[in-house]
């Protein structure tokens, strides 16, 4: 059901000599790009089903010629209608006036159905009412999917994604890119990743519009079988869309990493140390529920009960993406079991979350000579004099003053290795913070990571409730929360923090 209106009526292509092409586009001297330019038009004209790749007509010749660089103006004037791909007198910007490059253009016009309907149109003004999944109404399915697509785009921070991709493309097209292979690798990896995300969503969007076309066609021609098939496909898409919504919540660069969770008791002695250990326990149980590996890295017990501070390592996909929602100060209100007068106490515990970057090339390089490694809490003559299972190590990174300790491994060697990995993560985070000051795009994610303000209150007396102060999400069963049932809080925070930002779409 190829749409006739999209078929090209006439076009002419002239293969200019390489030299003139270069001057035309200020082309970097890169053979691959030229080849791409020469062959791309054919690829497009030959394919039968690549409707998405045919952009909307773009009236460059008639009205926008003044906006093009003078070289191109001259060339266009000198070679009227012989240049590139034309469609009804319209120049098709198939391969880049903006950035000339080997990749498809980022800023593609919005895809639409044969009768010009776009995803935005479908969602706007509740054109089609969204009903339950069970109601087999194709318009409802389509509307729900369209809504998901909008949400996914918002969560992926679409506008910023497009800008970032543009920047990366420019970077990728610099002829001297590979002079610094590490940087080049980083750029092309990021580009690949973002491009993949964008293509996935665009493909999904196109799929929806195709199904709508198909359904309309089936109805016109009373093709019941086709209608049923498209209906099924739409329902399946509707379900996938919900999964994709969730995935898109964790699209941050470090979200897929494992992480360290650090809990520190606030002022208030034993009561708040006990609270800190309750919080730590909550995270251990949460991580277990999620199927993550949990290792205690460092633990400093309170004198009577609880912990002064503790660090655990949470191993698994998206551990950081979820746990970052927990950063901040957690407040407890209860009758303290440590108060003989049975008074009501308020105590605080602070939570910090550090991603463990998996990508070795993005990690800060640590010079051995910048490190000062000490036996932690050492005393006495040591050596054969002492029998101890205490082999804790503290590592100080002298230039930054950042320290890390580990005391829960059973040998000094392993304590040192673990402390090094904690130190590495802290330095990585510091480096990210530094970069963020340069790159405003990251600022938001960083304020989330640093020690934040009070985020949640747990009340055990006089009533029972846990309430998140950022999202107002609340539950009336503190026990289940303290046993690690945090998903509601985490999800509501993640979606609220991303979805509220209208600029993301």
């Amino acid at each position: 059901m190829m749409n006739n209106s999209l078929k090209m009526k006439s076009f002419s292509v002239s293969l200019l000599q390489k030299s003139s092409l270069r001057s035309l586009f200020h082309l970097p001297h890169h053979p691959r790009t030229i080849a791409q330019l020469l062959f791309s038009p054919f690829v497009i004209s030959e394919s039968k089903t690549t409707v998405p790749y045919i952009p909307q007509p773009y009236n460059l010749l008639k009205s926008e010629i003044s906006g093009v660089s003078s070289d191109i103006q001259t060339t266009i004037k000198e070679h009227p209608s012989t240049l590139l791909l034309f469609y009804n007198d319209f120049l098709l910007p198939t391969i880049g006036f903006r950035h000339f490059c080997s990749q498809p253009l980022v800023a593609q016009p919005q895809p639409q159905t044969s009768d010009g309907l776009t995803v935005d149109d479908i969602v706007a003004n509740n054109r089609w009412q969204i009903l339950e999944e069970t109601a087999s109404d194709w318009k409802s399915h389509a509307a729900s999917i369209a809504q998901s697509i909008q949400l996914i785009k918002k969560r992926l921070q679409w506008k910023q994604l497009v800008v970032r991709l543009d920047t990366l493309l420019m970077e990728l097209n610099k002829p001297n890119l590979w002079d610094d292979p590490v940087h080049a690798g980083k750029i092309s990896r990021e580009h690949g990743l973002l491009m993949g995300k964008m293509k996935e969503v665009n493909g999904f969007e196109r799929e929806l519009l195709d199904h709508i076309d198909m359904l309309k066609l089936a109805r016109e021609e009373n093709d019941n079988e086709l209608e049923l098939e498209s209906m099924k496909a739409l329902l399946k898409m509707r379900r996938t869309a919900k999964e994709k919504e969730l995935e898109a919540l964790l699209s941050g660069e470090q979200d897929s990493c494992s992480c360290f969770i650090e809990v520190q008791a606030g002022a208030g002695g034993t009561e708040s140390m006990d609270w800190a250990s309750m919080i730590m326990q909550m995270y251990k149980m949460w991580a277990q529920r999620c199927g993550y590996g949990v290792t205690v890295v460092d633990e400093m017990c309170g004198d009577i009960a609880g912990i002064k501070r503790a660090t655990i390592k949470v191993d698994g996909e998206y551990a950081f993406g979820y746990a970052k929602a927990e950063v901040g100060v957690h407040r407890l209100v209860r009758i303290s079991p440590f108060d003989s007068a049975k008074r009501r106490h308020t105590s605080f515990a602070a939570v910090a979350v550090t991603p463990i970057l998996g990508d070795a090339s993005s990690r800060v390089k640590i010079n051995e000579s910048d490190l000062q490694i000490e036996r932690f809490r050492s005393g006495g003559p040591g050596g054969q004099h002492a029998n101890t299972t205490e082999s804790a190590v503290r590592i100080v990174h002298i230039p930054t003053g950042v320290t890390a300790t580990c005391q829960n491994e059973r040998s000094q060697h392993l304590n040192k290795a673990m402390a090094m990995s904690v130190l590495q993560s802290r330095l990585d985070q510091l480096e990210l913070a530094r970069q963020a000051q340069v790159n405003a795009q990251y600022t938001q994610s960083l304020t989330e990571i640093s020690w934040g303000n009070q985020i949640r209150t747990y009340v055990l007396h006089p009533y029972r409730m846990v309430k998140d102060l950022r999202t107002n999400y609340e539950v009336s069963d503190p026990d289940s929360v303290l046993e690690g049932d945090l998903d509601g809080f985490i999800m509501s925070f993640l979606s609220a923090s991303i979805d509220k930002d209208e600029n993301n779409l």
Partner: protein, 378 residues
């Protein structure tokens, strides 16, 4: 299971030497007696010795409920907490925090659980109190072991029968010095050296004098890989058997050879051929022994600790031997009692043994104590 570690020629008599602790030793499947036949070297022979199997290698043939384990945990924890800073103030012994951590490790070693978090059900507020878990010792024994830890100050490593050292888990038992964390650095320094100089790896034999549990020899043997050769000596027959057991556990019998004898005595044929020499000999002055931490003085072998009047008897002996046994360019590193001994030895090697050594240095451990003396044969 354990017997698989031994080649058919080497057979040990394996039984538990501490009937007090293992009242039901006749029930243990490993309590079989076999003769030890193969002499480890021609110069000496290691007679039948008793190897105590570390807890974590014992088969999990007992079982108990999670509730029972929790009861034990609570009891042992409160016993540990009652110690407070008492031992620390008394003789620099363990304080309760450390004892609590040891308790967790004990549980990890005796409970058969999931690989990455064997005692998870104890720490993560599990509510399945009636569930059965498999154990490597009986509950009664477990209570007994923890009493020994607290009341008799028996070292934790002897309780569980092993010491985690670097990335190794070494079997240890009464009669064998428990390797110290400081000593790990010797392996680090050797690693650094052989990374820089490949010849140190391939050209010649490495020697660990007074190997004890075999820690240094195994650590270096693993660095050298199949092309290397390490000879480890020890005067104590128990130490020699335990070291041999550990070497087998790490499948290094083709790399590390254990010889029984005093210092260089069993090494005659290697005069002038040794490329690397490491040792952690006894270096505590005799007068200090009585005042040591209870875990050490009551339980660890004096043979491995007492270095004579000023603690230097054996170190000097080794320094002299190093001059004739090391090949030119050969490397040595010894552990010492601290700044005083290190300074003395550096002087001794540079002045009294003038012309034998170069680049003689003392190196600090992580606590900042001048712990090691290193250098090269000229």
């Amino acid at each position: 299971m354990i017997l698989n570690f031994f080649p058919c020629l080497i057979r040990y008599s394996i039984f538990t030497p501490l009937p007090l602790f293992f009242k039901h030793q006749n029930l243990l499947p490993l309590s079989c007696s076999i003769n030890f036949i193969k002499p480890i070297s021609s110069s000496s022979s290691i007679s039948a010795k008793t190897i105590q199997v570390p807890l974590f290698l014992k088969p999990p043939i007992y079982s108990t409920t999670i509730l029972e384990l929790k009861k034990f945990q609570n009891w042992a924890k409160s016993l540990s907490l009652s110690i407070g800073l008492k031992f620390l103030n008394l003789d620099n012994g363990p304080e309760s925090n450390l004892l609590c951590r040891e308790l967790n490790w004990l549980l990890e070693d005796v409970v058969e659980g999931e690989e990455d978090n064997p005692t998870g059900f104890l720490t993560l507020g599990c509510s399945e109190n009636e569930r059965l878990v498999r154990m490597r010792v009986e509950m009664e024994e477990l209570y007994d072991l923890w009493k020994q830890r607290i009341e008799e100050r028996r070292p934790f490593q002897y309780i569980v029968g092993c010491e985690h050292w670097r990335d190794l888990v070494l079997s240890v038992q009464e009669g064998v010095l428990i390797p110290r964390p400081e000593t790990e650095l010797i392996v680090d320094m050797v690693e650094e050296l052989i990374l820089k100089d490949k010849e140190m790896k391939q050209q010649g034999v490495w020697v660990d004098l007074g190997t004890g549990s075999g820690a240094l020899a195994i650590g270096i043997g693993r660095l050298l890989g199949n092309e290397g050769r390490v000879i480890a000596t020890d005067l104590s027959p128990i130490a020699a058997s335990v070291a041999a057991f550990n070497v087998q556990r790490y499948n290094l019998q083709d790399v590390v050879e254990i010889r029984m004898g005093s210092w260089f005595e069993p090494l005659d044929e290697f005069k002038g051929k040794i490329v690397g020499l490491v040792s952690n000999p006894p270096y505590i002055p005799s007068g200090d022994i009585a005042g040591l931490q209870a875990e050490v003085v009551r339980h660890e072998p004096k043979l491995a600790l007492d270095g004579g009047a000023d603690g230097l008897d054996d170190l000097l002996n080794i320094c002299k031997g190093a001059a004739s046994f090391l090949k030119p360019g050969g490397f040595f590193i010894f552990e010492t009692n601290g700044a005083k001994q290190s300074k003395y030895l550096v002087n001794f090697l540079n002045i009294q043994m003038e012309g034998s050594f170069q680049y003689v240095n003392s190196v600090s451990d992580f606590a900042g104590i001048h712990r090691f003396v290193t250098g090269f044969r000229k």
